[in-house]
Symmetry: C2
Subunit: 258 residues, 2 copies
Amino acid sequence: MSNPDPSADSSNFALGRLRALLDDSSFEGEERLPPERVLATQIGIGRRALRRALEVLEAEGRIWRHQGKGTFVGPRPAHTPTNLEELSKRTHPLEVMDVRLEIEPALARLAAMRATNGDIERLLRLAEKTASSSDADGRELWDSALHRTIAEAAGNSLLLAIFDMVDRIRQDTAWRLLRERARSGDRQQIYVEQHRRVIAAIAQREAHAAEHAMREHLELVREGLLKVMTSPLPNRMDGQIQETPVTANTKKEIRHGT
Amino acid sequence: MSNPDPSADSSNFALGRLRALLDDSSFEGEERLPPERVLATQIGIGRRALRRALEVLEAEGRIWRHQGKGTFVGPRPAHTPTNLEELSKRTHPLEVMDVRLEIEPALARLAAMRATNGDIERLLRLAEKTASSSDADGRELWDSALHRTIAEAAGNSLLLAIFDMVDRIRQDTAWRLLRERARSGDRQQIYVEQHRRVIAAIAQREAHAAEHAMREHLELVREGLLKVMTSPLPNRMDGQIQETPVTANTKKEIRHGT
DNA sequence: TCATCGAACCACTTGCAAATTGGTTCGGTA
DNA sequence: TACCGAACCAATTTGCAAGTGGTTCGATGA
């Protein structure tokens, strides 16, 4: 499995040396390898040669490295990104929409069941504001506030936290252009009407209708996003988005159970 | 609303001084007030007197303070807890179950549609392990791994991140006792059978069946949790949990457009 | 000509100490 | 009794140094 071409090793004996080290019990329990500079002098080769060998081992999945941290034996840990920047970098806009399609209809249903009268008043006021707002930025703000208020009205703090997390990713700068184009033109009127329907259903405590209306709304938003993304203009963005996830993944593969 | 007893202000003129400062345009755009020590000397009073005045203003909601950060004008920001500790502290176990009931059936459905053959193999292996495990800790581990593998198989990194977030809160130490009691006894066999059904549906690409089976499973888990929580023993936990959730919601208010 | 090396620099991460800030206690003073 | 000043505590932020992998460059030598 590991070495179909032994000549590769013989030409570069650092690799063989390292394989021996890894197989050796000396690094059995050790997770972390010495720094490259140290390891290089220990083996008696240059750092560059050592790094070439390490690249092979990393590609094989026997070690993993991270700038600033070190080199470690074993498969790369699962690494669920916990900070938002990383998450938004490696999350595709469509993924976000899929998640919204799972979460927000449920939020609307819960809101219909548990919203307070104060919540409903706020929703009604927000709906007016959203409709009357003229510029794109204004719409964006009011729209965001509206969806968040529904999330609050659902009365589950954990779901609210999840909504906020998704929303912060959605608002990430990388997709601002996309969103702008997605909500351009006559769609805006439809969105307003759909919002109205969702809020009316919540106000009348019709849980199922609220869920359905919200899903319908988000499906339209998703469709608009899809249309914009496949259109010719924003190629630059396409590249930007589909490039970034690769950087860390040239070697990649999720390394969970394997 | 603010000042039913004017003598309070006259006896402590720092309060009036501060009110003037806040109403003054000098702090119109300013969020942050000077440090207490500076502000005290500026006004010409002692720090303790200043702090009493600040306490009043904070109670009125005109300012908010945070140790190590400073004193700020305006209502305390919404504060969606972003770190896990805080979230688990103020999240009720039933809230977590409600969220799982929203998320995981969707994950199961997506997994049925998008799981790779490798995913399915892993699931089948995990199901065996879960069934064969005898002690409670072992079951807990395998169960967790099983649910996470399903989440991975769904193929949406953002949903996976959300699942991980919820799962970490679920695993928080505070509820370990509860969970242990909840999965005691004969329920365990039913859980195993339900897991088997979910996995079978995923393996046969029956999205709807997978979603339904997962929901059924989680509803039973929820019921078990409910039964345990209403039983007499863990009263101490009840108090601890039901205190917290109020704090964040007393003022709420979104800070987007306004 | 090519591979290798050593050195220097860049980018990221960690850890720690200092500074800043609100929170609290204490004794002195009018 | 009320206030003040000082000192200390605790939480947070900031800045810096060290250590690490990632990269580039010129020198060396086969």
